[in-house]
């Protein structure tokens, strides 16, 4: 068994109080904790949809287009939170070199990209009825688009064939500078548009209570979905990592020995490696 008890630690850390039974059975990345999280996000999503589409009134100036905001603003919050997690995890990884935080950084960046796309698409759809165009070259939209490209670059770097230690260190450096970049891009683009035109979005000060409540529900459900996705994405990454750890030759040798043993005794001996075991049970 290549994977030692040390390797299992982070899985348990990822899920305090939960069990690793699902992982040791090798059937998936779900557990009691994530199932509760999943059900909670489903419930919040249904509540958010019913309030966002049915119970909340159309807004005074934006009419029904305001309902897109229940998707848009929560994506903004969830997306930036995810990138912030990437930043923090990258810093920790650079300090102690742990695989756990490297995988957290990568998983969070993927979730962040997902929400950024949602953010841009819902923003463009909202822009068409409100501004008359899908793309307004608004500072926020423009800098968000650039940010998306930066994190796609980050994910591309993570997929490269390099020695894992080198790759994760470079990814951590990139994860940190990328966040600083987001700030630079944001301010320069804002300055650029500021010279040409005024702020494009007039924020309404008078917000209906139900609209605010729907926004709140959206925020809750997107954060829950984000957390749920993050835990699962991380576990997939962790399993992948453990799979990579298992030396190919070693695995082949064991498989051969296993087949021989099955041939000789017709059964598997105790303590032998089974496919899907991945060391979680040691």
């Amino acid at each position: 068994m290549t994977a030692s008890t040390d390797d299992v630690g982070p899985i348990e850390r990822a899920e305090p109080g939960g069990s690793t039974t699902a992982l040791s059975r090798g059937v998936g990345t779900g557990s009691k904790g994530t199932r509760i999280l999943g059900v909670a996000s489903l419930v919040a999503l249904v509540a958010m949809l019913s309030f966002g589409l049915v119970f909340s009134p159309p807004e005074a100036t934006q009419a029904d287009a305001v309902r897109l905001m229940y998707v848009h603003l929560p994506s903004v919050a969830a997306g930036y939170t995810a990138f912030f997690i990437t930043l923090v995890a990258s810093v920790i990884h650079l300090r102690n070199g742990s695989v756990f935080w490297d995988l957290v950084a990568g998983s969070a960046a993927e979730i962040g990209v997902l929400f950024t796309v949602t953010m841009l698409v819902s923003g463009a759809l909202w822009g068409k009825p409100t501004w008359g165009v899908y793309w307004q070259w608004d500072p926020r939209m423009t800098s968000t688009a650039v940010m998306l490209m930066m994190y796609l670059g980050y994910l591309a770097l993570r997929r490269l064939e390099l020695p894992p230690a080198v790759r994760s260190r470079r990814a951590a450096v990139l994860g940190i500078i990328s966040f600083a970049n987001v700030i630079i891009v944001r301010y320069s683009v804002k300055w650029w548009r500021g010279l040409h035109q005024g702020q494009s979005i007039g924020v309404d000060t008078q917000i209906d209570g139900l609209i605010l409540f729907s926004l709140f529900l959206g925020l809750v459900s997107f954060m829950l979905i984000g957390a749920w996705l993050l835990v699962h994405r991380f576990r997939v990454a962790w399993l992948q990592h453990q799979l990579d750890q298992v030396d190919l030759e070693h695995a082949l040798a064991e498989r051969r020995a296993e087949n021989e043993m099955i041939g000789m005794f017709g059964r598997r001996s105790d303590g032998d490696v089974q496919p899907g075991d991945l060391g979680a049970s040691t």
């Binding site: 670059g153 770097l157 490269l160 080198v166 500078i177 970049n181 320069s188 683009v189």
Partner: protein, 230 residues
């Protein structure tokens, strides 16, 4: 550190003098981009208004900087391609050079090459797009600072992608979003210098300087960890 930087820069420039890749391939590529822009944006379109300038002349600062950015990607790629063969990077590490010095040296050589390229491309834009010129001091300052900004940020990212088989495709994806503010500031500063439109040019030039300094610092600090184990 500075001695190492000078050594690196001199080595890179000597390789360029011997191989003439920047002059013989990248410069013609940049000129080609300028010509293609002329084809993409018809030279006959003109801006309605007092100046009666052609659209091409009006957008020439932006087009010039796009041509420079594309060329800089090739120059940066070249700068690390000459290190990736025959275990050169390992040799550099073994030689005990200061990583910050290596960074400064590589960036310095690229800056020199890009400035020469910009001089020639700028002349090309001046001729091809019939662009005017009103403030030479601002233009030269903006050129130098923008080139430094492009190069130090680009060198850092090219180093992140160095030693990889897919380097050529990854570097543009990593570098271009980061350089978006530089493109913006350089274009606006150049516009101000060329058309004499406003005093904003100097504040954009300041931004270029701040960006260059920031990345100079990040690059000098992080070049060690990047080169290590690569």
């Amino acid at each position: 550190m500075l001695r190492d930087a000078l050594l690196m820069a001199r080595k890179d420039l000597r390789i360029e003098l011997a191989s003439r890749v920047a002059l013989g391939q990248i410069l013609p590529f940049g000129a080609l981009v300028l010509i293609m822009f002329g084809l993409a944006i018809s030279p006959d379109l003109s801006v309605l208004g007092a100046d009666e300038r052609s659209v091409l002349a009006q957008v020439s600062p932006g087009l010039f900087w796009m041509a420079v950015l594309f060329s800089s990607l090739l120059t940066l790629g070249r700068s690390f391609a000459i290190e990736s063969s025959d275990g050169n990077l390992d040799a550099l590490k073994m030689a005990g050079l200061d990583p910050a010095g290596v960074f400064l040296g590589k960036a310095g050589a690229v800056i020199v090459q890009l400035l020469v390229l910009e001089l020639l491309l700028g002349f090309g834009a001046f001729v091809l797009y019939d662009a005017p010129l009103s403030d030479v001091v601002l233009l030269v300052t903006a050129l130098i600072l923008a080139t430094t900004a492009v190069t130090v940020a680009g060198t850092l990212y090219a180093a992140l992608a160095s030693g990889l088989k897919v380097r050529d495709t990854l570097v543009p994806l990593l570098v271009l979003p980061v350089l978006a503010p530089v493109l913006l500031a350089a274009t606006l500063a150049t516009e101000a210098a060329v058309f004499g439109s406003s005093e904003d040019g100097w504040s954009w030039t300041m931004l270029l300087g701040v960006f260059a300094l920031l990345y100079l610092g990040i690059g000098m600090l992080s070049f060690g960890p990047i080169l290590e184990e690569s």
